[in-house]
């Protein structure tokens, strides 16, 4: 059904309305781990955008030109995860050689990203919604920037939280979850955006 919408709607839907972290709950493992510092989160966010857009597009091509014509749809889980893992590996090598400054900026997060549910989800959802290549591209940009946006926001809140007085039992993970819950509540408000 999403494939009937225009590109702007697809982007908004992926970025805000169905935000990958706060509404779809994907990409959480790294989310709670990295988001204690704004700097680290920004690095992770950029890395995620880069990998997601490339890997999703690559997976789209693999699915529509390799799997579908040969009726091998059931291999999509295996092929997608292998595509993403190899792409990340490959990319890490290239970036380390050609763009060392970039590598120092976010290279360490690259291997972590392989198990980031958000990327695999982006690939699957693009196929499930039967998006065209361009729609898929916009969709993956929306998803990954939604992730980056939220993780940086969240990190800035958590940095402040470190210094506030909290009951012992809430320190650390519990308050992080509750904060995420409140942010999620705020994002739920975007649901009516489709009417614009």
């Amino acid at each position: 059904m999403l494939n009937q919408a225009n590109l702007g709607l697809i982007f908004l839907s992926a970025f805000l309305v169905n935000n990958i972290l706060l509404i779809r709950f994907l990409g959480l493992c790294s989310f709670f781990g990295i988001s204690t510092q704004v700097k680290a989160s920004t690095g992770m966010g950029i890395a995620v955008i880069f990998v997601t857009v490339m890997a999703t597009s690559l997976s789209w091509v693999v699915y529509n030109y390799l799997l579908l014509p040969f009726h091998l749809e059931y291999l999509r889980t295996v092929t997608f995860i292998l595509t993403i893992a190899s792409f990340v590996q490959f990319e890490e090598i290239i970036i380390r050689k050609k763009l060392p400054t970039l590598y120092r900026a976010f290279g360490i997060y690259l291997p972590l990203i392989t198990t980031n549910c958000a990327i695999l989800a982006s690939a699957f959802l693009g196929i499930d919604y039967k998006l065209s290549f361009v729609q898929n591209l916009v969709f993956s940009i929306g998803i990954s920037s939604g992730y980056a946006f939220v993780i940086v926001l969240f990190a800035s809140i958590r940095e402040r939280l470190e210094m506030s007085p909290l009951p012992e039992i809430f320190k650390g993970i519990p308050i992080a979850f509750i904060t995420a819950g409140l942010m999620s509540l705020a994002f739920l408000g975007f649901k009516g955006l489709f009417q614009l």
């Binding site: 706060l22 509404i23 779809r24 709950f25 994907l26 990409g27 959480l28 493992c29 709670f32 059931y74 291999l75 999509r76 889980t77 295996v78 995860i81 292998l82 893992a85 392989t114 198990t115 980031n116 549910c117 695999l120 989800a121 699957f124 959802l125 499930d128 012992e168 039992i169 809430f170 320190k171 650390g172 993970i173 519990p174 308050i175 992080a176 979850f177 509750i178 995420a180 819950g181 409140l182 999620s184 509540l185 994002f187 739920l188």
Partner: protein
Amino acid sequence: MKIDFKNFINGIWRENPIFYLMLGLCPLLAVSGSVRDSLGMGIAVIFVLTGSNLTISLIRKFVPSHVRIPVFIVVIATFVTIADYSLAALSPQIHRNLGVYLPLIVVNCIILGRAEAYASKNNVINSILDGLGVGIGFTIAIFIISVIRELLGNGTIMGYQIMGANYTPFLIMIMPPGAFLVIGFLIAIKQGIEKRGKKC
């Protein structure tokens, strides 16, 4: 051959993947709004975990170290696909409700984690037990959370009306924020229990 029951029990309680290790969050939060879907997810996880642990333990002596991660991933992805198609054939409704979160089990940190930490280093029987233990631990955790969420958010459990007809559901519970809040509070309680234990 020693049977490692201690590890089995560990998976369920002391090192419960969710409450203790904070792994495998993505599917947990998404699916725990409904008890029926949570049990479906739990069974899928037990199946994948046990199957992949078994297979990886079987082939562990043949897999060179530098390709072990891709090999583990392929094995896990295979079991996830089997679970995916089997569930679609057996219960299309649960399959539809689980949606994209079912194939996402493949990147669930729990499964790769157990393969790496245990199955690749131990014999088959104990690996099976390990998979079962952690899988059951996950299922129990997601069951508890889903009971709280469905009961408070919908007044039902598994679709059966539990709360009286006048009960206005605490709607936020079955929506995304509710998931975060419930887990946050549960972990706070767990931390509280642990702290009190230390004082003794």
